[in-house]
């Protein structure tokens, strides 16, 4: 029983980062109908940025062992700016290209960025020494890993903020309208391009946040993005393509499935288990587990 509870807990904590990555992917898919195959490389880039910032120094005493987390906000804004550049330089024109060229564009960018990281930073594994790495709290026989726990709490907070933004703000309402139909939204006076720009910045900014939350306990290397993004891809299809808040539940579900297979079978089999669920969802419920009717975003 304690193993079961511990696995669920670990899974939820891992799932927090998947949720952040998946949420950005689904936001971009929802408004632009584009799967960003380079999403994992933005995570990788964010991790290198965060590692670079963290190696400058950590905050002084008052923050105790949490001094390294100052990098979260700057990394998020740096990556949001990268997302803005990504949209203006590439996606702005590619928006007219149709699905296949967009896939090829982002996959080319993805492997190009992996190569660039290897050329610039080498293929070595980087970790800034910090007290969060390996730290854990024990309560009631359960072991709470501190790094993943902080990542989970921040991811949850970010989800609540995103859900509020989509529901209540002017941008959110425009985004939902564009997701429903870009043409109709434009006829109603909504600037779809502005929605695309802001969505891409938010999506890449969220990945930057995820990157900063990962670096205290996760090694940074050129292919690191693949480990997260493949799971996030499966998560968004299982949850429902374009469903931003659903993607969060998808991410958490992936984490729990991974952790349970790791405890009872073997970690290597977890991707296979998730993949079986993915195929089952495609066959039986292609709109996704958490999408009802025609609801978008």
């Amino acid at each position: 029983m304690i193993i079961f509870l511990q696995s669920i807990l670990n899974g939820l904590l891992i799932g927090g980062v998947y949720a952040l990555v998946a949420m950005g992917l689904n936001l971009m898919f929802g408004v632009m109908k584009l799967v960003n195959f380079a999403h994992g490389e933005f995570l990788m880039a964010g991790m290198y940025v965060a590692v670079g910032l963290a190696s400058l120094g950590t905050l002084p005493g008052a923050f105790g062992m949490f001094g390294i987390y100052w990098v979260a906000i700057p990394t998020m804004f740096v990556m949001a700016a990268v997302g803005l550049a990504f949209y203006l330089l590439l996606l702005d024109r590619a928006a007219r290209f149709g699905e296949s060229p967009q896939i090829l564009l982002t996959i080319g960018l993805s492997i190009g960025a992996q190569g660039l990281a290897q050329v610039l930073r080498g293929s070595g594994f980087k970790l800034v020494p910090n007290p969060i790495n390996g730290a854990a709290i024990r309560f009631g026989g359960l072991n709470l890993q501190l790094g993943p726990a902080i990542a989970f709490i921040v991811a949850l907070a970010a989800t609540i903020v995103m859900a509020w933004v989509l529901r209540a703000t002017r941008f959110g309402k425009s985004a939902r309208a564009v997701a429903e139909s870009a043409e109709t939204a434009e006829m109603l006076g909504i600037d779809a391009r502005r929605v695309y720009i802001v969505s891409t910045s938010i999506a890449i900014g969220l990945v930057g946040l995820a990157a900063a939350l990962l670096i205290p306990y996760q090694y940074t290397f050129p292919n690191v993005g693949q480990n997260f993004v493949v799971v996030a891809f499966l998560a968004i299809v299982i949850a429902g393509l374009g469903n931003v808040v659903g993607a969060v539940f998808g991410g958490l579900l992936m984490g729990v499935m991974q952790s349970l297979t790791a405890s009872y079978f073997d970690l290597d089999l977890s991707t296979a288990a998730i993949y079986l669920l993915f195929l089952a969802v495609l066959l039986l419920r292609p709109q996704g587990l958490f999408t009802r009717g025609r609801r978008t975003l």
Partner: protein, 323 residues
Amino acid sequence: MRRALVIFAAWMAAAAAGLLLKNDYFASVATAMAFLALWAQSWNLLCGLTGNISLGHSVFVAVAAYVTVILFQQAGVSPLLGGLLGILGSVVLASIVGAATLRLRGPYFTLATLSAAAVVLSLILHYSQLTGGPSGLAITFAQDSPFDLEFTNVRAYFLIATGLLAAVTLFLDFLKRSKLGFYIAAIKSSEEAAAAAGIRVALVKVIVFCLSAALTALGGVVYVFYIGFMDPNFLSGLTLSVEIALIAVVGGMDYLIGPIIGAIFYEAIDVAANATFGASGGWDVMLLGFAVVVMVMTEPRGLCELTIRLLRLIHRRPARFWS
């Protein structure tokens, strides 16, 4: 018939050039180029005809290679028979993934193929008693044994790979003008219209995907005996899948010769990067990836189209000048 002769002559020329290469490094580059071109051509059988982008073709290389070598080493099954079983395994996998995704609109197929590579890799790592786990399997042999695909002279593999490439190219050319080819062309121009005309759209797509998987797997069977070592992270890695796809894209998906041009381009980058920066890695995939980005943004039809436009430009300018 004329095309067949052209392709056969091209193979003969490539084979002669390969056999004349005295330098072992360039011979290995040429062989790698031949295998990449073979895989890219097989990949393009799917994408060039139906427009479905697979980012998991390395899976078929890995499945065929592992089935063949495990049967060969553990049960003494000849690679010629084991290879057929390996290809069959790849086709079964392709039909499952294809049946689940090719009837849906949207990026499901690409996502499903991309993650299939990760799944197969994790299965190879898990069943390590059979597959050797992360350290892979080695194939060692001391003498020639053609029926076991064992040749001590690596140029034999170059001959086989280019021969397979010629055969796949010929097959693709034949397929385009067959009944199935016309079905595919109809589907590509409008799925609704094709379905209304009585074509079973999803079935045709799955068949084409299986054909593409089988040809890729065929290359995989020969490849492992050439390389003599199976590294799961390479064989079932995302990098190989993406390389296969992007090579075809860079060359030009609308042309029979496109994937071959792409493979030459990629190996040329690789050789140049190795000569300039040393074999530290990263340069080849970086240049390939960014080349594709530039290509999609400027000339999505690839190097072939670019060359044709360039030739036209050179050809036309004097005429315009004098008229």
